[in-house]
């Protein structure tokens, strides 16, 4: 590993100043960043450790919703009684992520801001649009695990398990920036390569995530999270479906968000509309899973996989509701 300096800022202003120095990176638990440094695909001269900042490590329950600090560990979120009872889908997506050991370390902010897992991007010596070069190796290469939607520029998928469920809940991302605090909805926060191939989240220079709010108004009447992967012990999703039914008690206010198939979580309002309680809603909804997909040489299977997952998700959400 290339040596680097560790900076422990005492307040947000100092953190932002330090990270704006040449070639510095924020770090939370480091489960993603340190691996990239070891693989020589990230080489910061200094690392600004957000863990030294106060106040970002708590979960706060209010009438409007639940605020989760960016430094809260994934395992602390998934075992939190209020999150479990009000936003169970969030907990479900977390327990599908990584391993217990990593979930005990990894933070919510780090999970949202982790870099994609494209194996070209994570091997030294492959230069592509995503690391400042040109072109894409996956297009004519090994793309079995890459995305099937919005994959013209870059087909690396958004790796975060929290991203789709946060989009489905219209989570509010609170960002510390030089001019104070700003907020984005999760949907605005995650971006595709068309806006800027170097970034997956819309954070500007020096900005960092302070906390995230799950709005009470999006609590689901019923829900499901279905994920397909090769191994059941620690593996990344090949495709996932997050389904929220009747959010905030509003009948028909559904959300279907697809994960691991596109650069940013993909909300599918066309599928949401098909979930209407009719007898053939499953066939109708899953039948259009592949609409708009542009599969690459090796990943066309993700379309039937999504079909299967949408069917499972609807069945599971419906049975949960009745049960």
């Amino acid at each position: 590993m290339r040596p680097f300096k560790v900076i422990r800022p005492v307040n947000e202003k100092e953190a932002m100043e330090q990270v704006s120095e040449d070639n510095a990176s924020y770090m939370a638990a480091g489960t993603d960043l340190l691996n990239r440094i070891k693989e020589h695909v990230a080489s910061p001269d200094s690392v600004v450790d957000l863990k030294s900042l106060p106040g970002m490590n708590t979960i706060e329950v209010t009438d409007q919703g639940i605020w989760i600090g960016a430094l809260v560990r994934l395992s602390a979120v998934s075992s939190h009684a209020d999150v479990l009872s009000r936003f169970p889908a969030v907990c479900e997506t977390i327990i599908h992520a990584a391993t217990p050991q990593i979930r005990n370390m990894a933070t919510v902010g780090g999970n949202l801001c982790q870099k994609p897992r494209c194996w070209y991007l994570r091997h030294e010596g492959y230069s592509c649009v995503k690391n400042g070069g040109t072109g894409c190796w996956a297009r004519d290469g090994e793309n079995e695990f890459h995305g099937i939607f919005d994959n013209q520029i870059c087909s690396a998928t958004q790796p975060s398990n929290l991203a789709p469920v946060f989009v489905a809940h219209e989570a509010v991302i609170e960002i510390a920036s030089k001019d104070g605090v700003r907020e984005l909805t999760a949907d605005q926060f995650f971006i595709g390569p068309a806006s800027d191939p170097l970034r997956e989240v819309s954070l500007e220079e020096g900005e960092f995530v302070r906390r995230v709010m799950l709005p009470e108004s999006t609590r689901a009447g019923s829900w499901a999270y279905e994920e397909a992967r090769e191994k059941q012990s620690f593996d990344w999703a090949q495709a996932s479906v997050t389904l929220l039914l009747d959010r905030g008690g509003r009948k028909g206010d559904h959300r279907v968000v697809l994960g691991a198939v596109s650069p940013a979580p993909l909300r599918r309002s066309d599928i949401e509309k098909k979930i209407d309680g009719s007898d053939d809603e499953i066939a109708e909804a899953s039948g259009i899973a592949g609409a708009g997909a542009t599969p690459l040489s090796e990943n066309g299977y993700k379309i039937p996989m999504l079909k299967g997952l949408i069917g499972k998700a609807i069945r599971s959400a419906r049975s949960r509701k009745e049960g």
């Binding site: 079995e144 090769e230 299977y301 499972k312």
Partner: protein, 771 residues
């Protein structure tokens, strides 16, 4: 002079008397009905606690005084020659103590795959060594590469090797070289064979055929390859992660790389797995020894995970074209086989054993090795067998279905193995072969059953001696210099000695993995236990005889009437004399009795030269996600006399686990553009985890096979042969479509379902339905 003895051989209710000639000083194999106190009893590993509590020191954990760290620089190019290496900058980096380059050490300028060794550095810290590696400037002459069998077989494909080496070479029957018979004779013979077998197949009642393929599997032992080397006054002490301590030593005392250690001791007390990839010191072993010599301090050079995945060996892939002619009565008439596999840039074989196990009639088999610009293959747990069994067993099911015969009955019809005949029925019974399951249906999940067979040859052989030492104060130790790569050899060696001396397990100390001790075998071909334990028993037997003579002498008894049992001296046929083992030892004049005995070179005539084995798998396939869950594997295994059921069972479980992992997950993924491996890690190189592990039901048959005084056969390799084949058959059974390609990933399952359902639209699918 050999002596003749009468023994019983067999198993279950099939025993017969046999007169065998055994080495004159050897002891009679244990007989059915013998009163044994340890042998045959499940006995925990003597090193279990040390291993699970982390106090066992593996080579990786060694830290001799003054130790520094070695690292290897690897070529990033798919195929290249090294033009020049400039180490000037690296030499001046902080902490750097030694730098070596591979063209200089191995006289090899080629770097024929991405991962090939180019240079090695030793420095005070790992980070310094890595920094120095990156400061080495290498100029490459980059050549075009092929990293898949498909690419390397193409007309006009770039040359993988150098000089005269062609990409595709016939490996079986071997291309002839030199005088005896010309290649055109051979070509003619093969053409005649093709025509003859072709006719046999054509004339059979039914013909089935298919092309099967399997992937490259890396060994992925938890402890990587390499060693910690320390030179002390010209003597090389090397803590090696090795499955062949003596072979490792011989390489370091040889000329290879110019190590030429005058004296060398290998220490491998604990080894974190090898699976066939750790027979040689490898380039990393040589570089470690040389770096330590040049630096003048001990060097730790064990590979990082990427280096391990890239260069430390793998199981070759395969493409197997099979065509089989079968008569309606179920007898296989003839089989035509063409197969291809890649040893990478290695020299090892890449064959698939797809013509073993069953009697498959007249055989026309030609096999090709295909060089690719990838890391060299090494023997991998039953080399060639799991991939061969996969193709063969799919064919067996296809043929049985085609003639409408039960899949097990069809196998029995073409199988003469006396043990396997019994094992089929046990497997059938325990997997509930005739149960009804939801197969091939419209439901989200479907289930299926599959069966497949093992074969192995592992009664051990010569090449081992053991030293047994009994001291005046009653301490017992047994030593053999071979290693225990996790199989339990150490424990079983101790059990055999304790049994012979009438002692308890904790009364016998064991020393292994040390080349200063008596010669032991490489752990290959599942021969370690069959080689080491007869030597240990023989040494213990003679040590006991010496002790009994001392006792007899002192007490005025007849030594030939004395034996040791239950930690006391017994009079054979009568019971204890009341004298304890310790008081017997106290009668010695000398400090200790020491007996060194070598195992007989040859195995005796016995019941069977081979182990059999049958496995049956029960799987569930999720048709929505394509996920395969192996619910249960019944593994019926035999290995001669089962000395320790616990470690035997553990071997079988390990084989099944690695076999399921091969069936569903593991595969090397190469980027054809740059010729690099993309999953040289444990993230994308997927190995079965606890949640993917089936219930494993192990049934062991105890076979008195008479081949040696312990009659044991190895069990490292046999249990992996059938697993993937059985799982694949079960998946095909569940889905109603044949799976031709391993590993069976969700992608392939979903693609197979799509194909099946497209075909279903027309007439209802018949094949593969077994209800």
């Amino acid at each position: 002079m050999p002596k003749e003895i009468q023994i019983k051989v067999g198993f279950g209710d099939q025993f017969r008397d046999l007169t065998v000639r055994i080495q004159d000083d050897d002891v009679k194999p244990w007989q059915p009905g013998d009163r044994l106190s340890l042998i045959g009893q499940s006995t925990p590993r003597v090193d279990a606690v040390a291993k699970v509590t982390g106090t066992a020191n593996y080579s990786y954990d060694q830290k001799p005084k003054g130790m520094i760290y070695g690292k290897i620089l690897r070529s990033p190019h798919g195929n290249a020659d090294i033009v020049s290496i400039d180490i000037d900058k690296a030499k001046k980096m902080p902490g750097v103590r030694a730098i070596l380059t591979t063209p200089e050490i191995f006289e090899d300028e080629s770097a024929r795959y991405a991962g090939a060794e180019v240079a090695a550095v030793a420095a005070d810290t790992e980070m310094q060594a890595e920094a120095a590696l990156r400061a080495i400037e290498v100029e490459y002459d980059i050549k075009p590469h092929c990293v898949t069998v498909e690419d390397a077989r193409k007309e006009g494909a770039p040359q993988v090797g150098r000089g005269e080496q062609v990409n595709v070479a016939r490996i079986s029957p071997r291309q002839r070289r030199g005088r005896r018979g010309s290649n055109s004779d051979m070509d003619e013979r093969l053409a005649r064979q093709e025509a003859a077998v072709g006719k046999v197949i054509q004339d059979s009642d039914v013909v089935v055929e298919g092309e099967f393929s399997t992937q490259v599997q890396t060994h992925a032992p938890l402890e990587t390859h390499g060693s910690v080397c320390s030179w002390e006054d010209g003597r090389l002490i090397c803590w090696a992660s090795s499955q062949a301590t003596f072979g490792f030593r011989n390489e370091l005392t040889s000329n290879w790389g110019g190590v030429r250690a005058k004296s060398c001791q290998i220490l491998s007390e604990y080894v974190g797995g090898g699976f066939g990839s750790k027979f040689s010191a490898g380039r990393e072993g040589v570089l470690g020894a040389l770096l330590a010599k040049e630096a003048g301090v001990p060097v730790h050079l064990l590979l990082d995970r990427s280096g391990e995945q890239l260069s430390a060996g793998n199981r070759p892939d395969s493409v197997q074209q099979m065509k089989m002619g079968v008569n309606k009565d179920g007898v296989i008439q003839g089989t035509r086989i063409r197969s291809w596999g890649t040893p990478g840039t290695g020299t090892g074989g890449a064959g698939a054993h797809n013509d073993g196990i069953y009697n498959i009639g007249e055989v026309d088999k030609i096999e090709y090795g295909v060089r690719t610009n990838t890391g060299g293959a090494e023997a991998h747990r039953a080399p060639g067998w799991p991939q061969g069994a996969f193709a063969l067993e799919q064919m067996m099911d296809m043929a049985a279905d085609e003639i409408g015969m039960d899949r097990v009955e069809f196998r029995k019809k073409n199988d003469e193995h006396p043990i396997r005949k019994v094992e089929y029925d046990i497997a059938k019974d325990r997997i509930k072969w005739n149960r009804s399951l939801t197969r091939n249906g419209g439901a989200e999940t479907c289930q299926g059953l599959g069966i497949a067979s093992n074969l192995w040859f592992s009664a051990g052989g010569g090449g081992a001696s053991a030293l047994v030492r009994i001291t005046k104060d009653g301490q017992v130790e047994v030593r053999n210099g071979a290693q225990d790569i996790g199989t339990g050899t150490r424990t079983v060696m101790g059990m055999v000695v304790a049994e012979e001396l009438g002692l308890e397990m904790n009364q016998v100390a064991t020393r292994i993995g040390n080349t200063d001790d008596p010669q032991g075998p490489a752990s290959g071909g599942s021969t370690t236990i069959g080689t080491v334990t007869p030597a240990a028993r023989l040494a213990a037997y003679h040590a006991k005889k010496e002790l009994m003579e001392i006792v007899a002498d002192r007490k005025g008894w007849d030594a030939s009437e004395l034996d040791l049992k239950d930690q006391e001296v017994w009079r054979i046929g009568e019971g204890s004399t009341g004298m304890t083992f310790e008081s017997a030892c106290a009668l010695m004049d000398d400090d200790a009795i020491e007996v060194l005995k070598g195992r007989p070179r040859r195995n005796y005539e016995g019941f069977s030269d081979t182990n059999a084995g049958v496995q049956a798998a029960h799987v569930e396939v999720n048709q929505a996600t394509g996920a395969v869950k192996v619910l249960k594997v019944v593994a019926v295994a035999d290995a001669g006399k089962i000395l320790n059921p616990l470690t035997s069972e553990s071997q079988v479980r390990g084989g099944v686990i690695q076999g399921v992992s091969f069936a569903l997950f593991e595969r090397r993924i190469m980027d054809r553009q740059k010729g690099r491996m993309l999953n040289d890690d444990f993230e994308n190189y997927k190995i079965l985890g606890s949640m993917d592990c089936p219930e494993i039901d192990v049934v062991l048959l105890d076979v008195y096979n008479g081949k040696s005084n312990t009659q044991v056969m190895g069990l490292g390799e046999p249990p992996i042969v059938a697993t993937a084949a059985a799982v694949a058959n079960a998946v095909s059974d569940a889905l109603g479509v044949r799976m031709y390609d391993l590993p069976i990933t969700p992608k392939k399952v979903l693609e197979a379902i799509a194909k099946r359902d497209a075909a279903k639209e027309v007439p209802a699918q018949k094949k593969g339905e077994r209800l």
